[in-house]
Symmetry: D2
Amino acid sequence: MNRFGHYFRIALWGESHGPRIGIVIDGVPAGIALAAEDFAADLARRRSGPTGTTPRREPDVPQLVAGIYRGRTTGAPIAIEFANTDTRPQDYAATEGHDRPSHADRTAYRKFGGYNDPRGGGHLSGRLTAGLAAAGVVAKKVLPAEIAFETRLVEIGGCTEPDRFDDLLRDAAARNDSVGGIVECRVEGIPAGWGEPFFDSAESVIAHLLFSIPGIKGVEFGSGFAGAHLHGSENNDPIVDADGHTATNHAGGIDGGITNGSELVVRAAFKPTASIGRTQITFNRATGRMEPLATTGRHDVCIALRGAVVVEAAIAIALADLREP
Amino acid sequence: MNRFGHYFRIALWGESHGPRIGIVIDGVPAGIALAAEDFAADLARRRSGPTGTTPRREPDVPQLVAGIYRGRTTGAPIAIEFANTDTRPQDYAATEGHDRPSHADRTAYRKFGGYNDPRGGGHLSGRLTAGLAAAGVVAKKVLPAEIAFETRLVEIGGCTEPDRFDDLLRDAAARNDSVGGIVECRVEGIPAGWGEPFFDSAESVIAHLLFSIPGIKGVEFGSGFAGAHLHGSENNDPIVDADGHTATNHAGGIDGGITNGSELVVRAAFKPTASIGRTQITFNRATGRMEPLATTGRHDVCIALRGAVVVEAAIAIALADLREP
Amino acid sequence: MNRFGHYFRIALWGESHGPRIGIVIDGVPAGIALAAEDFAADLARRRSGPTGTTPRREPDVPQLVAGIYRGRTTGAPIAIEFANTDTRPQDYAATEGHDRPSHADRTAYRKFGGYNDPRGGGHLSGRLTAGLAAAGVVAKKVLPAEIAFETRLVEIGGCTEPDRFDDLLRDAAARNDSVGGIVECRVEGIPAGWGEPFFDSAESVIAHLLFSIPGIKGVEFGSGFAGAHLHGSENNDPIVDADGHTATNHAGGIDGGITNGSELVVRAAFKPTASIGRTQITFNRATGRMEPLATTGRHDVCIALRGAVVVEAAIAIALADLREP
Amino acid sequence: MNRFGHYFRIALWGESHGPRIGIVIDGVPAGIALAAEDFAADLARRRSGPTGTTPRREPDVPQLVAGIYRGRTTGAPIAIEFANTDTRPQDYAATEGHDRPSHADRTAYRKFGGYNDPRGGGHLSGRLTAGLAAAGVVAKKVLPAEIAFETRLVEIGGCTEPDRFDDLLRDAAARNDSVGGIVECRVEGIPAGWGEPFFDSAESVIAHLLFSIPGIKGVEFGSGFAGAHLHGSENNDPIVDADGHTATNHAGGIDGGITNGSELVVRAAFKPTASIGRTQITFNRATGRMEPLATTGRHDVCIALRGAVVVEAAIAIALADLREP
């Protein structure tokens, strides 16, 4: 099930340390202008470099290998690929069998009977989200022009003050540790009427895709978990005009699974990166003993940093699939 | 998209005030013993009666109209129906056009161009979840026998002390108000290896179905949103043996989208019931003016009460779809 | 997999001798006028009565139990059911285990480990096609008004002269035998551009549904098998104007999997009814011996007779699923 | 809808004259040995060279770019690509707008509003079937080892004598014409019980995929169209033992949509290649006039020649999707 979507359809493939990864996007209308440059801004947001991101450097130049002709989409499937250039599979050789706690190493091993590619997580790697980011760019082109995304990292390690984030990240890095974070995405301009009562509610489709992003363990809309503390008289959003505008937006833009025309508000909780340099005592399949593990390989201190644009991409893809023609 | 599932497949239909509602379940192996009595316990948990639930009384006797022969599943689609007996559509006649804030009234009206059945929410009614509860019973029969569910209402209106819940409910009811709540479901016995890296992670499939339950606005697994406050060294679950058991369970039973053999821990946040008797000033489509609305009809003070078994059913259905044969 | 369709979606359930059968139709736009009377004409074409059809009499009055409000579709799933009134399950008791040759009796028994409902074929019965005929009626309402169907039985038992059909049927009936036939459906008014290159070509989607109708063993479009005898210079259809009209129509309205605006021409071959009164020597599972079997129960001499409207319905459903919005 | 399959899932992309084409295969169990050499035999059967095939020469060396690790499938999606090396897009420049009769040129132009890649048919090219042939190789590895395929070209231009085929092909080529043909595939060793009553009958799934192969206009199983001429007493296959073996095989291995354990027998009718060098008078979109067209580009005289292995691949893929685990 490497595929998602009924109308805007994607299929994702590749491994962290294989020759390249790719995404195939189907259901894109013909005639949309699309060039490699269109991907630059979003891919730059996902690229490593800033404090707290991995030292692995991938240029992430998308290759548009199918579905584009004379600079426009043809209506045929669009295939986009990214070469893996800065791979260091040897980083993983020493620890093969010594599964990283809270990582897919062990579950992938179990699921695939040991045949999975373990190098850098193989297919279960954040590397694959480059494809999602690219599909997000295409999705945004498919969506009505008035739809605008604003995505922010609103919390790192429980701290909600962005000017203190860098200190927290440096501190965690200094201790060879990692830290979690929360990303909030707000989307203006979504028409009312998108989403199905059962089972493709707008929340269902968005959450489905978000929960496939490595590291996300919680998703909420509007007042979300906090809304469960309230009374109806506090949480309800009174309607104020014939267009359905509301005085408040506790619903986060969705009522009954269907967009209501207000701003979409989604928050996604990223757990701290599972791969940490700090020593952990954990079971070693290779030796059959509990042993100290200090993860090698190159990892983000906080995956929410580079994950923000992936959250936005996932929401764009979900909206492109939900949109009413 | 009234359908869900790739292997354990459901299709849901019906309206709150139509003659009956139903669910069709496909993908159930032949030869499973199944009788109307098997549904009694779970349907009783969903039935109204206790403090804070609607005065509408539906006996909810499931009719097994297809797919069962001589007391066992045949391998053909199973059709289960529930008669709607205690309908009072006249409750909704007076307020037609005066959309309830934070309710599907308005979004359904917009989506379906005013052709939707507005009586009691029509197809967008909590009534439909009787079908989900029934499908959950079938799903549990399909799952390995060692899988056991424990579902609790862990929070009402921000209060986490169950012995104070009744007071809160009575208090909200006395003020013609409603209140939100959080349901936690724990599932023991799920084998390691269920779920796909992309895009049918165990979290994705479970959250997809949960977010189609009316009123759910947040879903988290394991440490969830709280985990985003932690460091990796705090949130990671060290592995302690060859079977992959872990010292802690911050992951809630899922690593990399794949079940890890530990207990599944899911929490769902229900918003307070949107329909409240308390007067709200909100726009009336029929008159074109802001006007006071006191919702008639019969409603739960806290949908999380009767929603708990529906959460459990949704998780069972999702697991039945995720299971590896 | 009792479901079909991406946009116009159906789910079929029921058994020949259960209380009722039904079909759930999703993806139908809101606001379409739909009443029980709309089904009368097509269901009459499927009803038994004429020479060569079964003596089982089912009134086939469709019950519209969901998805209709004030005489119009609501956008919610439409549920249509048919009561089974004239059942005689005792007809099948004597021969249980003595599988009818070329019938689903044996394959269903194998597939479902003996748990299938064997009465009248259970779920694998032509009875289920009442649901398809009903869905076909809804599909035609969804299609553009200019689309017109003409469906004829063009061949019975190798004979292509309709005025000799009754003699052939009476002759076969007199010998307790059955006979095969070929149905041709022509559809005018389909816009150019429906169907996908891979893998939902117009032929693929139509053939998929046709080959699920009990008894169909061959499907061809346009010149079909006869076209394989020709040269390109004979089989090609020269284009004659800017609208793409063609001088001939060997393609049967589809080029490259995409409708070309010409008349759709489909032919479906029905095998002779497998259930015949005439004695056949065949293996009896119950006794473990080869034994003579004279099928009891009530059957059509030629299923193509009542199958014609089902072919038309299947094509209408497929077109409703293929249509570009 | 460039994807097919529920369990063995494929997604196809690329254009005849783009840099490369590819197929992504998902749902393949982990641990299957798979190397580039495994594809050689089937790809050789699809390669041009023999009498009647195109002079375009593609080495068709498959690149296994994902889903394989240490020579075995990993359980992750398998991505296979083929470089397009011998392209001559200039062949198509002169005739752009002068649509080839009975070709996808015109329907693709209509469907995609003129944005389609027209070079060599773009995405709607027989070139794409290299991906299908490759997926067929993988499908055969997934199927039980006892399943064996035998595929033959049984008819060219109405002639059923294979030793006369070369003459027919040479004759057609000499006249710059093309010719149709019929391919028959027989598959031994399929267990009884594969396929669903509705709507994924074995015939439905196989025919769905076959009708997506460019040029196929008819599909039949067992006695097929000829069976429609017969009586039930002639066409029925008496069962002869407890395993369900039958004295005859008019059913072609499928009863009631479910495999019965007998040999699967499928025939597919290929129309004559639409692209012929012989002059045809047909409408020119570019000039708005009827004009003579002599197709340039390089084409097969009879697509059934190279299509035989593609038919076999499609059936293997369909069986891999139908198989019961």
